[in-house]
């Protein structure tokens, strides 16, 4: 029986629609060793998938949907983290 490792893909979208364009991306790959480089800041200019839906079609499972933002009075125009953060995972066989 083969062993598996988890890969985590974080996609930030333009809005809360899972089909909206990806605007930021990060991959954390559990198949890589301690001394191997993970995805680095600034190492790519285009997202690996156009949207979350496109990643789902390629076998990624969505494990987090972000809650929709609320805008408390007086803070309507404040921004911070990227809002529409989706976390996806897939299991990859590492032997066998």
């Amino acid at each position: 029986m083969s062993e598996t490792r988890q890969q985590i893909l974080i996609l930030h979208l333009a809005n809360s629609n899972l089909e909206s364009p990806a605007v930021a991306w990060a991959l954390y790959d559990g198949t890589k060793g301690e001394n191997e480089l993970q995805m680095q800041t600034g190492d790519s200019d285009e997202p690996p998938y156009a949207s979350v839906l496109a990643a789902m079609r390629d076998g990624w499972n969505v494990i987090q949907l972000p809650p929709l933002p609320q805008y408390p009075p007086g803070q309507e125009h404040l921004t911070g983290n990227l809002l529409y953060e989706y976390v996806l995972e897939r299991k990859v066989a590492v032997n066998g």
Partner: protein, 262 residues
């Protein structure tokens, strides 16, 4: 700090780009003889990065050049306060990128800002790892390294520079050092200054309310901002009022300031 001639101040268009993007890169603003001296000195320097400003024989002269002082004066006034500085070094073949972050602590001032000047004494092509910035991220409230899990963001931009270039950045901009794929050490000197006065009317404001300049603020949408782009734009329009010293100029999206009586 003595006043500089008006011709050395930022123009309204340049200031609008700083307010929109969160930084302004002045290519080759420092003459070659200064860059040569600074680069030679940096290669030999064995002190702590935080001491370089005080121990260098040339770096303070560079920041006293009228064309450099004019920009500083335009952003933080005639008597800015020294906050800190550092000679940042990325060794040859250092292949790890730094995490995305914003410097210092969350700033509670609603509109005032510090600046961080990044000076390159030598050519810094992309493969050498000049600083990566996210244009338009400077007004977002994050805590230093809270965004460290982000890796790539649409529109991110490396400060690819020729020797003598200084990038002046709003303190809040998201940025990170980049891997150096070359066999040469990469140096960048960072100087953080805080304003010594209210940051109103400090630049050459001629034309600040012209359609061309207001359109720089109105057109500041970035793809990575997604549906938040309009909210982001409103923050820029507020900052534009502040730096122009005119609390009625309206560069907001669909003129919402006028519509809502803001």
């Amino acid at each position: 700090m003595a006043k500089v001639e008006r011709r050395h101040l930022l123009t309204a268009e340049q200031m609008a780009r700083f307010v929109s993007d969160g930084f302004l890169k002045l290519d080759e603003i420092v003459p070659k003889e200064y860059n040569d001296a600074a680069y030679e000195e940096q290669q030999k320097y064995e002190g702590g990065g935080g001491r370089y400003w005080f121990e260098s024989s040339v770096i303070r002269e560079i920041f006293e050049l009228p064309q450099v002082k004019g920009i500083i004066q335009s952003l933080v006034g005639e008597n800015p306060g020294y906050d800190h500085s550092f000679l940042h070094i990325v060794r040859a073949r250092h292949l790890r990128g730094q995490d995305y972050h914003a410097d210092s602590i969350i700033d509670t001032r609603p509109l005032a800002f510090d600046i961080q000047a990044f000076y390159f004494s030598h050519d810094a092509p992309r493969e050498m790892g000049p600083t990566l910035v996210l244009p338009g991220s400077h007004l977002r409230r994050i805590s230093n390294g809270s965004i460290a899990r982000y890796k790539n963001i649409l529109g991110q931009q490396q400060l690819v520079s020729k020797a003598g270039t200084i990038a002046f950045m709003h303190h809040g901009i998201w940025h990170c050092a980049q891997p150096n794929f070359t066999d040469r050490t990469r140096y960048v000197f960072k100087l953080r200054l805080r304003p010594g006065q209210e940051q109103r009317n400090l630049f050459n404001t001629e034309g600040y309310d012209s359609p061309e300049v207001l359109n720089i603020i109105r057109g500041a949408h970035r793809k990575w901002q997604g549906e938040e782009a309009r909210i982001e734009q409103v923050q820029r329009a507020k900052l534009w009022r502040y730096v122009c010293g005119n609390d009625s100029v309206d560069a907001s999206f669909e003129r919402v300031f006028s519509r809502m009586g803001i």
